[in-house]
Symmetry: C2
Subunit: 612 residues, 2 copies
């Protein structure tokens, strides 16, 4: 008899999307099971780059420090083309990431296994480990509409095979399944979700190795277009380097089947290709080869990202594309970063099930944009090189311009979620330069009480709470009276803060965090003048001014376009994206925002919460 | 029969000086025993502030991160005086630390126990724990001149009592003893070192508590001079606050004995004194009292800091003074930071015993300066307050000016070690603004190979090595030829680098680290042009230019006054202080510097190294 077990969420696959999801849910106290068919995690190769927005996301889970310690920081992108004599030469160096508001202006190079470890160690602190080697054998979703409508039912039944013990099975009854099981996703196939798009005819090889060379940009990211082909260089941690090289059909295709035959390639052969492209620079005999592979790029997006908002797919299971823009792992991590807090709020009985629909809405649109971008970028990359006095000698400029324009996309900083239940653009004019649907940009404020500068993103952790940033303007006597009046209104049981704000502020599962941002000079502002309601703790009162050394901080009201003569509320979603901006006194509008996806306290307290 | 054991260094006392010493020695592989008479470490009260230079020192041991995470950052010093109506009011706010080159422009407030834990956990990773509760019972130093002259002998015998097992003793034979056993040091008394100086008649009380108040600077450091007395406020971690209040004789002295009678005081009474001083601000009933004490300030310096350079004393055992300038723990940590690397080099047989004489030379001078400063500062503090239109109404200005002038001293940034065997000022003119005898100031360089900005202090860890910073100027063809020639000279066995540079560069016990700093534009400089000798690893080649975002780095040659048309060597001591500057080609002068305290390789290799 197989063992039977009940969990809130079953995650299939412990790659980047899976472990991000598992860690976020476990940190929020959700009962999770995560399984993976591999007997142990990958230790080399695979995805390699963490983009600036993903670093911000990791930081919001307090995980960036280790990433920054272990990884290489890729700050420069060197572009090489044939010079007027046809000899490979540097055309110039660009910023690795063209995203002016990026908090971390670089890409972090670190192997996928090391990145997974960061999440795995963190979830271990919450008592969660990966069950492996385990693979799903069957999945059944209840067809009872009653059961599907009940947020506290367990409508999904998954049978798991223990791969190390033939015949051993576990049956898991779960509320939700998240399939993070890669490009060949078993979950996706099992629930019949199709992939839209097609395979390209572009074949690439990739090899990780350690070597010496006289190539002066070996420690920078490089885009190289020589008369012998194209190559991407990505420096790795521990003095390793990755070469992506374009291959021809004859290099790798089996002439009979027309399929890629990995046996026709080897790391040595891949290096030979790279050497030709990098001529006249010399690459010495490698000290070690770490990993290599060959692939044809497919560009596909799943037709749906969920079935009945009970079974979700995320990461490579939803989208496949070329690795050249360094997006794969980033898209995956951001998929489940988007999904996790929504699952938590629904599982806690605070949010309506419809909140989960915004996952596909937001992330499928992103995946489609990604494929679109990848098409353009890959095509540019596979183009024949040109010399400077060639007809097509504008290549470097064209390439630089694409890098520049696509910086927001590649870095992840530019992601803009469309209007939805959780993204309400009605009052955008209250802060015209703080874009609703985009992530809260980095900005330094000082704490009013002690003048310590703080990066606002560090006050917006991914802790499942909505952050209410009250930009209260200047603390005139009139403003203090207005704030007192507003705090009285907000204490009323009919106010959104009381209706949806449970349990009490400051407990682990609070719905809201209140942060108050005063406009004014640090010499004049006394934090004790901020009404207590707006500073549940003294550290929650911030000031938009420079610190005492006058070296950091200040200018936020102006930058965001917020009038200090008004009181403006900025609502930041639990994932760090601006959800709504409104006049702080527009309580009805704010109520409508939350009413669209939140369940009032009264209703929740009437429900018998199940034991976990 | 007592157990007998042999160690390289016995440390008596596990306060800040002791654990700093133990951790530094253990990290260098020295065989250390550290004992303390307390059954467990202090968990509250005691010293509270880590000054900017001490933060830099902790960072050089990779320990600052945790300090910054756990502690409060005190950035502002609010000064209060009676206003023209005689009512207490803020005269202004100053920088907590007036030290323009401080890398960390603040003081960290954290209790002594938490700071000790940082060192204790770190030394635990090197396999070292504190033996407690253990107190020394006797100490004997051999009088055999032969034994004293032999660096590998064990001339000190210390008998230890296990306080938890009456009668149990351990006999420790050791090469060196470091007494870090506080103001009432048993070691100091046992070896007959006297304290010079005297007790003041200034009596102060200190109390740590948690409370609410309408005093608007409660989260800042405050210097308060009211008509009811003087008070210092120091915010602590965890929303606690410390009050230092000046007491009158009648508050605490026993009229018969004339001695402080702690029974006459209580935390409640201390708070009452603070309340009077802070009137008209209100301090609510505390939520908790954490710690309190009462003391008369003594201002004394030990007459010697060592006996025969075999038994040393450090920290409070050497100097006592008022806590008001927040120096105690800082002086202690910096004492053993200064001593540890010297012990290591002597114990490894690389340095002459005379190197150890520089400990007293450098740190006793510092202690004397500290007492001198403390006298002025305390007197200023105990002065009667003045109102603005009072004759003495210049108080705030006078106080501000003292804070400003003394910033270098208080912060620790201004410490300047005098000329000695390890501080050679001969060629100061090669870099007139990089002061020999002071700590290497923070300065951002970019790595030539990948443009990543680095703080130079992070490339100068306290790893017992001398850092050879070759400022090689611009990489002209002529300069590259000169560097090639110089590297040939440096490969010669007669060169200081070969004579004293053992074992091989890059191993844990190397004597030297080579760092090369090129002057030039990042677009032009190719790190591959730096001769291999000057970049044993690619990351050792730095560039004095801004990073690719043009936001950090650059200007160091100009700032230090180094001519990029020359090749200049800056030698940074293992403790981060500039030891010598010279033309890189002045190999004889450089040799003389090291010859003054280092034992040539040949001599060392001839010695039979003892087994540890």
């Amino acid at each position: 008899m197989p063992e039977e077990t009940y969990v809130d969420v079953l995650i299939v696959g412990a790659g980047p999307a899976g472990v991000m999801c598992a860690n976020a849910l476990a940190a929020a106290g959700i009962h999770v099971k995560i399984v993976d068919q591999r007997p142990s995690k990958v230790t080399s190769g695979q995805a390699d780059g963490i983009q600036p927005r993903t670093i911000e996301v990791l930081q919001s889970y307090d995980l960036a420090e280790r990433l920054l310690k272990e990884g290489r920081q890729l700050r420069q992108l060197a572009v090489y083309n044939p010079n007027s004599d046809g000899v490979l030469a540097r055309s110039g160096r660009l910023l690795s990431v063209s995203a002016p508001t990026a908090r971390y202006p670089f890409v972090v190079g670190l192997n996928q296994g090391a990145i997974e470890s960061i999440f795995i160690d963190s979830m271990g602190e919450h008592g969660l480990t990966i069950d492996r080697p385990i693979a799903p054998a069957s999945i059944e979703l209840s067809d009872s509409s009653e059961q599907l409508a009940d947020p506290f039912s367990y409508p999904v039944k998954v049978t798991l095979n223990h791969l190390d013990t033939p015949g051993k099975q576990t049956i898991v009854h779960t509320r939700y399944v998240v399939g993070c099981d890669g490009a060949h996703s078993w979950v996706r196939k099992a629930v019949g979700i199709t992939m839209d798009g097609e395979q390209t005819d572009s074949i690439w090889g990739v090899v990780d190795l350690m070597t010496d060379t006289d190539f002066p940009d070996i420690h920078n990211t490089c885009a190289i277009h020589s008369t012998s082909g194209s190559c991407l260089i990505i420096p790795r941690e521990g003095d390793k380097v990755r070469f992506y090289v374009q291959l021809s059909d004859s290099d790798v295709l089996d002439p009979i089947t027309g399929r890629v035959d990995k046996n026709r390639m080897s790391p040595e052969k891949l290096l030979e290709v790279a050497r030709k492209i990098l001529h006249p620079y010399k690459i010495h005999e490698p000290k070690m080869y770490e990993w290599w592979t060959v692939y044809i790029i497919g560009q596909r997006v799943a037709s749906r990202f969920s079935v009945n908002e009970r079974i979700f797919i995320a990461g490579d299971a939803c989208h496949t594309h070329s690795p050249k823009a360094g997006q794969g792992m980033n898209a995956s991590i951001n998929d489940t970063h988007n999904l996790a807090w929504k699952l938590v709020q629904v599982l806690r009985g605070r949010a309506k099930t419809s909140l989960l629909e915004t996952y596909e809405l937001e992330r499928r649109k992103f995946a489609q944009d990604l494929i679109e971008f990848d098409r353009k970028y890959s095509a540019l990359f596979s183009r024949k090189p040109s010399t400077i006095d060639d007809d097509e000698g504008v290549f470097h400029e064209a390439f630089s311009s694409v890098i520049e324009i696509s910086g927001g996309f590649v870095s992840g900083i530019g992601v803009h979620y469309a209007s939805s239940a959780i993204t309400n653009e009605t009052h955008q004019q209250c802060a015209p330069h703080l874009i609703i649907g985009e992530r809260m940009p980095p900005q330094i404020f000082v704490r009013a009480a002690d003048g310590r500068p703080y990066e606002i993103q560090d006050i917006l952790p991914s802790d499942t709470r909505f952050k209410l940033l009250f930009f209260v303007g200047c603390l005139t006597e009139e403003r203090v009276r207005e704030l007192d009046a507003l705090s009285n209104e907000m204490r009323d049981p009919s106010c959104f803060l009381q209706k949806y704000g449970y349990p009490t502020e400051g407990t682990a599962q609070s719905m809201f965090s209140i942060i108050t941002i005063v406009s004014g000079d640090k010499e004049d502002v006394q934090f004790t003048r901020v009404p207590a309601f707006f500073r549940p703790h003294w550290s929650n009162a911030l000031l938009d001014d420079t610190d005492i050394t006058r070296s950091v901080g200040g200018g936020a009201y102006k930058r965001f376009g917020i009038d200090p003569n008004t009181m403006t509320l900025v609502i930041v979603r639990p994932d760090g994206y601006v959800g709504m901006i409104a006049p702080a006194s527009a309580l009805e509008d704010i109520d409508s925002y939350f009413a669209a996806f939140t369940i009032p306290r009264k209703a929740v307290l009437g429900i018998q919460l199940p034991q976990v």
